[in-house]
């Protein structure tokens, strides 16, 4: 983003180009880390209209590096919203019918309080002075946003990956406030392999000399190289070997022979470099550290005495889980164990595994079977909720 580069600060962090809800000292956010965050703010977007009964609200939870711009042009990148293929007037999640809310999570860098936000105590960006944020903290903040809209029960909470973790946390922490839940390509905990990949990313950020112990804004710098490497490593985990092979193979980039050097000879190298570079234009490095940490700490079973079923005891929420065959970040088994726990809790649950070779990122793409499942689930939940189209 031009603003990020030029000013070396993140204007979107304090003054986002989306609506923002500010909570003063009277309404602090209680954090799992044991401290209170105050004051704090949540940036969000809404689409459609809340009906009189306030029963048609859908909360969309974004993934690790997503934001609140789910169905509008992103002000930072100028690209379409990250789920615009799914959400909008006349689309699967029809904003003529539903009131869609998407917030930037706490710890993010697009307007909700995060490490790039100004710390009111110092007048400088928080950096690492911000306490660690957990998935539950994010959900607690979202819940305050939902209160602000006067919505007692969300019709549906949905999201993929880290967003899916938030969906599970919502259904577990506030079961009476979630009529239906749609966690996609996610897990009830982060596996050690997932934590390992995140650690590689964090170490890459922190090894960048421009990181300055997290106080890079004060030095007029940004650890762009480290963050780009982190993104490159992570990006590989979002794809699948089959998809990579089909798309790139060992094809050479703009040349017909090897250079016998370390240029981006292969298309895949050039592709990853591009992914890394465009990412640093839109994302804050410290925020990446906080977001990855929040996923690493997530373990819903551990929060309930080691029994995942207890996280959903007595739930009346209708669930639909979706996984993808080629997702090695959150393989189908992760979804299946949640399904087993929901069965043990006697919950209403559907589970769809979608055959695709597009890997973890399939949830962001135009996957007809995914859309059919979401459409069927939302449609039947809407009938059960008495929502007429």
């Amino acid at each position: 983003m031009a603003a990020l580069r030029a000013g070396k600060t993140n204007n979107e962090a304090d003054q986002p180009s989306s609506p923002v809800l500010r909570f003063g000292p009277d309404k602090p956010l209680k954090l799992d880390a044991g401290t209170l965050l105050s004051p704090f703010q949540i940036a969000y977007q809404t689409y459609g209209t809340l009906n009189d009964a306030r029963s048609n609200a859908i909360l969309v939870c974004h993934a690790l590096t997503g934001d609140q711009h789910v169905a509008n042009t992103n002000p930072v990148t100028g690209k379409p919203g990250w789920w615009e293929v799914l959400i909008g007037p006349g689309k699967i999640i029809d904003t003529n019918r539903f009131f869609v809310i998407c917030s930037n999570v706490i710890g993010g860098c697009l307007g909700s309080t995060g490490p790039a936000s100004t710390n009111p105590a110092t007048g400088k960006p928080y950096g690492l002075d911000l306490p660690i944020i957990t998935i539950r903290d994010m959900v607690r903040a979202q819940q305050m946003l939902i209160d602000h809209f006067g919505i007692e029960q969300l019709f549906c909470v949905l999201g993929g990956s880290m967003g899916g973790m938030q969906v599970l946390e919502w259904a577990s922490s506030y079961p009476e406030r979630v009529f239906s839940a749609l966690p996609i390509a996610t897990g009830a905990r982060h596996s050690s392999q997932n934590i390992a990949f995140h650690e590689v990313g964090r170490q890459a950020v922190m090894a960048d000399p421009d990181w300055h112990g997290g106080k890079y804004f004060e030095h007029g710098k940004r650890p762009e190289k480290g963050l780009a490497v982190a993104r490159m490593a992570a990006h590989i985990t979002y794809l699948s070997e089959a998809a990579l092979h089909r798309k790139f193979g060992r094809n050479l980039q703009d040349r017909d022979h090897l250079t016998f050097g370390f240029d981006a000879d292969f298309q895949i190298e050039s592709y990853l470099r591009h992914q890394g570079m465009t990412f640093v234009d839109r994302f804050d490095a410290n925020s990446y550290l906080y977001m990855t940490r929040s996923m690493d700490y997530f373990d819903l079973a551990a929060d309930h005495g080691g029994r995942l079923a207890d996280a959903f005891a007595g739930t009346r929420t209708r669930f639909c889980l979706v996984s993808f065959t080629s997702d090695w970040l959150f393989p189908t088994e992760e979804s299946r164990s949640i399904v087993h726990a929901l069965n043990a809790a006697g919950a209403s649950v559907s589970f769809v595994e979608i055959e695709t070779d597009r890997g973890h990122d399939a949830f962001l793409l135009d996957e007809p079977e995914l859309f059919a499942a979401i459409n069927g689930f939302i449609g039947s939940a809407a009938r059960a909720r008495g929502l007429t189209s």
Binding site: C320, N343, V349, S350, V352, A372, G376, F377, G379, S380
Partner: protein, 204 residues
Amino acid sequence: MSVNGNQRVDLEVVANLIPPQSRVLDVGSGDGSLLELLQDTKQVDGRGLELSQRGVNECVARGLSVIQGDADKDLEFYPDKGFDFVVLSQTLQATRNPKLVLDELLRIGNRAIVSFPNFGHWRVRLSLFVKGRMPVTADLPYSWYDTPNIHFCTIRDFVNLCEELGATVEKATALDAAGQKIGLSMPWWFWNFFGQQAVFLLKR
């Protein structure tokens, strides 16, 4: 799993055994025909377990609550008496361990409803007796080498298994080739000979 080739005449018989607003688990829900029938006519709170992913995705797209799973492996994850009725419709013969599956059905449901093709039907007996070949009928349309059905039983075999598992037969219906119920007054041997399909309501 939809193991049967022709019209599912047993579905209505099964549906008639289930009172409105019951909690029902349909094991082997196939394309969701039974669940949809129950949802539309009996307003049941229905769930399904289906082996084929294609069937599951179709069910979910139709708005039914169905998960992908294997009756042989996944029934253990359901709580005791979690449902009023557990239905195993035309699926028993395709399970690896019918005894274990039936035992699980009786644990999970207050009642279990099991329907299956009767291997004691006269056509089956005749085919084996006269032609010396495994039967291929309208009800059992597969050749022996590509059938999903691995554990056929006769009505009499099934009744014996129920006894072994301590299950009480509350109701039993045999359907003839035309899908008509065979009179209750008929003796077991008659059912076993002329029943093409059987539907049992069990409790333990």
